[in-house]
Symmetry: C2
Subunit: 239 residues, 2 copies
DNA sequence: CGCACAATTGAGCAAGCTCAAGGAGTGTGG
DNA sequence: CCACACTCCTTGAGCTTGCTCAATTGTGCG
């Protein structure tokens, strides 16, 4: 379960056997959340951070008028609320989009680990920094991309992120969102998501049936989305 | 100059005299950048992080088609690229919107500081986490708010952030952006920014003349923007 | 004066929205 | 087994927010 974290760190930088061991021996408490249920609510004060072991989750904010905006998708290997280690009170909620298994790691243990090992501290810090980088890319999409390119970008990003944790079978991956949920990711209405999707489908770029997306023409999709995966920091570079 | 940082930390948590001193004795190199010039370019590999001492800056991303989206405003007391301490390569650029003074703090010094003092490490980490929180709020605005409320929200946020560093005279503050730049903040066209601004002005909510904004009706503006400053983490709470 | 840049305004257009309805799949109680 | 409810997807129709293109008016500066 913590191996997921080890493997993610190892994609980004070299770590020693002792460090690997230090991560593997972090205390965890397993938690299961059903699809559609809340994982963390806005305003909660966290005392542990949740590592998603399997499933799909999303950070979201609600508006006074009932509107909802998802601000990030959480995939296996991602922390849903690592930032709560330094900012206890949650400024947003986290929702399970599929059945999820989560490993709760007490903040106390994470604090000890980061105090004793500055390198692992930086790798954890990097996790939250990559979240911010993803946020920025989404902002660019929300502010400056039209629906088609925005959606294409999300599919590209999701493919690369899932592939990084071995959950993409080539250019195909599970994507258990409803179109309404996708609309809240993309800042569109559900109706427009449907039409945009139809356009992507009928131009042969993607298929999406029974919760599984297939990217039929990666090159064309990347061009349409202007996608460059550098911001995901999924390749080695010393930290 | 580094006092700005000390004061920001002290707004958020208690720090000891020794810690204060450790921050004050960080090596810095002063740098001046003229309005309109670039502070950091996308793709740069940073070896120091830049603390904005005075002026106004913005993070931005460019699109292939020439479009531009600002992803955060940098105000005095903010780091423009603290995240580069753990993610060397810049995934976006930083632009001076007004004449800026910056203090460059070598990564080496920051690494030493964070390795030796976990509490200060967490406070620096928190800086980047608040950036991410601001990103999320902007995302909600870009995805789900109309132009009027989005602009009102930005003015509220800017007032609170400037006030926190003593740069707001009551409900009035310097705001040295052109309408075109504001458009790139809000994900709107310059023309629509102008019209939205007119609406805010003629309803008596704000004035904006000669680079200075005045908020005439804070309560109404907050309501229009649905603004809640909690995400800025400008008040005390142990880290 | 001439130039560059910012703000403003008009006019027409379009991407994306809302409202509404219908179909398909699934689960539940009778 | 059927009726019903429910959710999700799909499609049509008309509307509205915000866009583009274009022109006009300052304003500071060499």
């Amino acid at each position: 379960m913590l191996d997921l974290l080890v493997r993610k760190f190892e994609r980004r930088d070299d770590i020693s056997a002792a460090q690997r061991e230090a991560i593997r021996s972090l205390p965890v408490q397993l938690r299961q959340v059903r699809a559609g249920e809340s994982i963390v609510s806005e305003g909660d004060r966290q005392t542990a951070s949740l590592l998603l072991a399997s499933g799909f989750a999303a950070r979201f904010s609600l508006m006074r008028d009932g509107g909802r905006q998802f601000t990030e998708l959480g995939l296996p290997g991602d922390f849903m609320d690592l930032h709560s280690l330094v900012m206890k009170r949650m400024d947003h909620g986290v929702l399970a989009l599929a059945d999820c298994e989560l490993a709760a790691i007490p903040h106390e243990a994470l604090r000890d680990l980061t105090a004793q090992d500055p390198h692992l501290a930086r790798l954890l810090w990097l996790e939250t920094v990559v979240d911010a980088a993803i946020h920025r890319v989404w902002m660019v999409g929300l502010g400056r991309r039209d629906a088609l390119s925005r959606m294409a970008h999300l599919f590209c990003e999701t493919q690369v992120r899932l592939d990084a944790v071995g959950l993409a079978g080539g250019l195909s991956f599970d994507f258990p969102l409803s179109q309404t949920e996708l609309a809240d990711v993309l800042g569109l209405s559900a109706v427009h998501v449907n039409r945009t999707l139809m356009a992507l489908r009928s131009s042969g770029l993607i298929d999406w049936r029974e919760g599984r997306v297939t990217l039929n023409d990666w090159a064309r999709l990347v061009r349409l989305a202007d996608f460059d995966p550098l911001y995901l920091r999924l390749w080695k570079e010393p930290v």
